[in-house]
Amino acid sequence: MADVLKRVPVREQDAKERATNFEEVCYGYNKEEAMEEAARCINCKNAKCITGCPVAINIPGFIAQVKEGNIEEAYKVIGESSALPAICGRVCPQESQCECKCIRGIKGDPVSIGKLERFVADYALEHDIKPAKADRTNGHKVAVIGSGPSGLTCAGDLAKLGYEVTVFEALHELGGVLVYGIPEFRLPKEKVVKKEIEKVKELGVKFETNVVIGKSTTIDQLMEEENFEAVFIGSGAGLPMFMGIPGETANGVFSANEYLTRSNLMKAFDDNYDTPIAAGKKVAVVGGGNVAMDAARTALRLGAEVHIVYRRSEAELPARVEEVHHAKEEGVIFDLLTNPKEIHVDENGWVKGMTVIKMELGEPDASGRRRPVEIPGSEYEIELDTVIMSLGTSPNPLIASTTKGLETNRRRCIVAEEENGQTSKAAVFAGGDAVTGAATVILAMGAGKAGAKGIHELLSKK
């Protein structure tokens, strides 16, 4: 009998092997493993895990079905709350959401909720189990801006209620950050993202790519000329931030967004595609979030020696523990308590090195984390040919600047009510990174759900 305090381990691709390919790292559970892990759930009456989930999936409910081997039923339970379970099962920070509330976690490992969700969702994709569709449309037209996690969730929820939803996407592919940001080895595009979006299409949602709202048309025009009665803005995060240090416009300095977009969206890692990428031989990724880990692990797979340069210590790394662990296993080197001062450029304008300085942790700052302070005289130089800046993003101004009466805050994020996504403009709702600044897929999905609720409350009264 297996130790009930320990979770059923999940099979992964060998670290050495995967450091050289873009295949998915984690293989996930099979049915036996899933049923065994599901048996660890004690089906709490007052299930704390549900409160940890931004979209409030009935977690004990679906796990109870897995325990019995009724995977299709389990999928239906998840489908009541989430339109994208195969994605969430892979990229949600479960350890700080549902799983950290699990009673099992007090004495032993919490139930592997994320891996169980992924198993159920993959099973549904493999067996082509369709989500429940609305019987008929209610005739109300809703526009959703952006086909990332918040937009897809909002569109899916509204379509289930019978709304005629059109999603407008600025890029040439659907999925937003799921396709341009998160790499293949963490979230397969053909096998998972495309298929999950197919399911949203099956609900009756229409999609139009290559439409940049604020440029190709505006929200006001969508409402006045194309008769959309409500709009949900899920346009995502925007312009990448840079440090403002000397040498930053040199060739070989990229934002993580650019580096990842070239590799993920444009498939530059595949020689059959035209878009080039300067992979680099020795790469520094500046930053410590999930995006930094994604960029580092991508550069590693493209053949580089990769260093994460982060100004605080390991404890403060904002990335998920699993991502840091995977990065280390694969051979990414962590230069912690280290901060760039200057990028050195050769006579052709290319990066040749970087001066960094050692840091120490001082008093806690506004974020509650201990503030990193430079150690005087500790500068040293590292030789490099590529620097990837992964310092977060600031909101894209395209929509706010072209929509009359849409209020933004001091950080230039769109102001929206948390519970229903209502903005300062009538019949316009918003959610996801466009409202919160860069956050997670599941928080964006939660905001998409809230927006759908807000839109339904408004239009069902009409």
Binding site: H172, N210, V212, A250, N257, L265, N272, D274, N396
Partner: protein, 295 residues
């Protein structure tokens, strides 16, 4: 899909296409650009808008093959289609927002170099349609490479073609034509210079001499073109700007052209290509012979 209604070779290495893209045609203004992607595997290529017909939903683009994707694009014919065609992107030219009466008091000089005649054309046409005649200098290496001549002549107040080799029009660089016009006593309030970086740089040095405020249109490397990737950053007045959302037009007297030229070479020059090949080993996108190092 975005259908190609007309495909024409304007000169050696310069191509014009009319593309059906109603949303872009309806909203585009002079100064803006589009991003096209030929097929699934192609690059996203930023191209300036040369003309548009709002009613018919048609946008005209002009391009020069410089990389693998644009080289493949030269094979497209009327009846073929682009997989993706996005826009209009970037900000319209400043004068579009200005009061027409005030505009009428200003004397404009347009300076186009090579394929830069294409983005200059809709600006000159817009001004003509608003009753404003402007002076237009168009330069090229030689007579055969001069494009859109008939069209430009029809909308320009005064049209001054120049060729570097003296085979047509004024013999010499566009900058010498600027000198000549100013020395003849012409006073200009605004200069708009669009063309290769080096031509814009030297035009700006010339207009600086005469204190003529000058606008240039930057065409750096881009990926998404919507403000997400930051590839297109240019230094303007010591500040980093994103050409796709802050531009593409900037005050030419503040642009750091040397940095911009180096950045443009990233995937282009011999050095850049060699470096890429070195860095990428077997994965180098090479062998097309068209990275454009010769430009």
């Amino acid at each position: 899909m975005y259908k190609i209604l007309k495909a024409e070779k304007l000169a050696a290495n310069i191509y014009l296409m009319e593309v059906c893209a109603p949303r872009v045609a309806k909203h585009c203004e002079p100064g803006q650009f589009v991003i096209v992607k030929m097929d699934e595997k192609g690059e996203r290529i930023p191209l300036t808008i040369c003309d548009y017909d709002r009613e018919a939903g048609i946008v005209t683009i002009v391009f020069q093959p410089v990389g693998a994707s644009t080289t493949k694009m030269t094979n497209l014919k009327a009846g073929d289609a682009f997989r993706d065609f996005t826009g209009p992107l970037g900000r319209p030219s400043e004068f579009v927002e200005e009061d027409v009466e005030e505009l009428g008091k200003k004397k404009f000089l347009f300076v186009a170099g090579g394929v830069g005649a294409a983005p200059v054309y809709p600006q000159v046409k817009w001004l003509k349609e608003h009753g404003i005649d402007v002076d237009v200098i168009v330069g090229s290496k030689t007579k055969d490479l001069l494009i859109l001549e008939k069209e430009m002549e029809a909308v320009a107040g005064n049209y001054y073609p120049c060729t570097d080799d003296g085979t047509y029009g004024h013999a010499g660089m566009v900058t010498t034509m600027v000198d000549e016009l100013v020395e003849k006593g012409n006073k200009y309030d605004v200069c708009v210079a669009i063309g290769p970086m080096i031509m814009m740089k030297f035009t700006c040095l010339t207009t600086k001499k005469y204190d003529i405020p000058t606008i240039v249109s930057m065409n750096p490397i881009m990926v998404d073109g919507t403000g997400m990737c930051g590839a297109c950053r240019v230094i303007v007045g010591g500040e980093v700007k994103f050409a796709c959302v802050d531009g593409p037009e900037f005050d030419g007297h503040l642009v750091d052209f040397d940095n911009a030229m180096k950045r443009q070479q990233m995937y282009k020059t011999q050095e850049g290509r060699a470096m890429l090949k070195l860095q990428e080993g077997d994965t180098h996108h090479g062998g097309c012979g068209n990275c454009g190092g010769e430009n």
